[in-house]
């Protein structure tokens, strides 16, 4: 039993009876993110699955104030909120932008890069479900190689996933962290930490999506955990450029006992057309990423 389970904020900010799918990974991650952020937070959300979760006017399923903005302007609207709060002297309020991978990797990157360059004091959260799941699983630049989406139905996606974390690292921001709903306490702790830090903070959550990835809803946590075990997603944090592995990835890095990629791939329908060549190249891509991270961790 996790010892610090009882230290988690008991208040629920995401109310039951919302529009998220059965077994939604985002819903689980969002629950803990909000618990960690608590009151004194303003959210800004672009068009994404999260807007669906927030609900239709005139009711919402989230008790924290939220601004709905356009797809490309997530970070810009957050910068506006920060400026507005500073002008009215309410500096104790944290501004949190919560965008999907489409809103971060593709459409929102320009505004995000701008805000990060200006050092805007806000948290940008990217929940990465590896595609445009809200509109019916289209390919995004976060989709991994070999995945079937409705826009890559025959040949599958031929390119590797874009390394957004490296792009954010290049902006020299205060805090970068990756987290997953498979370890809610890790997610909670990182959000608590992010809230205390000043400056631009970027968080990435790897959230499994049952309808988009093609696996039964009950396996959401298992899938998120397998992503860590196989090294598809790496848990780390980077404070002022100092890299360190955290949680399960730390012990995987020390022991080097990552599972082969096939364990993760075979459970998902979206990879049913993956060729041996692609699988091989994806495994190599992941191994290279790990070597890179390990070099960074050694300093």
């Amino acid at each position: 039993m996790p010892e610090n389970l009882f230290k988690v904020n008991k208040e629920e900010y995401m109310l039951p009876g919302n529009r998220s799918c059965q077994g939604c990974g985002l819903s689980l991650a969002y629950r803990y993110a909000l618990k960690a952020l608590r009151e004194n937070t303003i959210l800004t959300v672009p068009a994404s699955c999260l807007t669906v979760l927030h609900g239709l006017y005139p009711t919402t399923s989230v008790t924290i104030p939220c601004l709905n903005c356009t797809f490309a302007s997530t970070a810009a609207s957050a910068a506006g909120l920060v400026a507005g709060l500073a002008a009215t002297g309410r500096t104790d309020t944290t501004v949190v932008a919560f965008a999907g991978d489409g809103g971060t990797y593709d459409i929102g990157i320009q505004a995000l890069s701008g805000a990060a360059e200006r050092g805007t004091d806000f948290i940008f959260v990217c929940y990465d479900n590896e595609g445009y799941m809200n509109t019916g699983t289209q390919r995004s630049s976060a989709t991994p190689m070999g995945a079937i989406t409705t826009t890559t139905p025959i040949l599958t996606k031929e390119q590797n996933k874009k390394d957004m974390l490296k792009i954010m690292e290049a902006h020299d921001i205060a805090y970068i962290a990756t987290t997953t709903p498979a370890y809610p306490i890790d997610l909670y702790d990182k959000f608590v930490k992010a809230k205390r830090i000043k400056g631009t903070r970027y968080m990435q959550i790897h959230v499994p999506c049952p309808p988009g990835w093609g696996y039964p809803p009950r396996d959401t946590v298992k899938m998120a955990r397998l992503a860590i075990e196989t090294g598809v997603f790496v848990l780390f944090e980077m404070e002022n450029g100092k890299f360190r592995f955290t949680g399960r990835s730390k012990s995987l890095a020390e022991k080097g006992n990552r599972l082969p990629l096939i364990n993760y791939i075979e459970r998902q329908d979206r990879f049913k057309k993956i060729s041996d060549e692609q699988l091989h190249s994806m495994q190599k891509f992941i191994d290279n990423k790990w070597n890179e991270y390990q070099k960074k961790a050694e300093g």
Binding site: M1, P2, L5, F6, K10, E12, M14, L15, P16, G17, N18, R19, S20, C21, Q22, G23, C24, G25, S27, L28, R31, H54, G55, L56, Y57, P58, T59, T60, S61, V62, T63, P65, P181, P184, I185, P210, P216, P217, R218, D219, T220, V221, K222
Partner: protein, 97 residues
């Protein structure tokens, strides 16, 4: 949130069950065996991994553990993650549920 700001033209108010009784979405429902459930067996607050992993937040931490069936979508994550295998998914409408 109670005060209406005159500068905001469209503002939603928070409410439980924004999408209606989402329990209607279920085809399988979770049933807890309190003979195996750790808090019930030990008779003290322990485990609560079902509460931790519930994406909806419909599980109440108490002795015994309770699930709000009005809003449980029946994803089955609790049954999958329960270390004591105390939760089983049974078909909606089954007698022994």
């Amino acid at each position: 949130m109670e005060k209406k700001d005159k500068n905001i033209s469209a503002m939603s108010t928070p409410a439980i069950g924004e999408a209606g009784f989402t329990g209607d979405w279920r085809d399988m429902k979770p049933v807890i065996d309190h003979g195996k459930c750790i808090p019930s067996v030990k008779n003290k607050p322990a485990c609560y991994l079902c509460w931790l992993y519930c994406p909806e937040g419909v599980i109440k931490t108490g002795i015994p553990v309770e699930i709000d069936m009005d809003y449980c979508k029946g994803c089955g994550i609790c049954a999958e993650e329960c270390p004591a295998k105390a939760i089983t998914m049974v078909n909606e409408g089954d007698e022994n549920g």
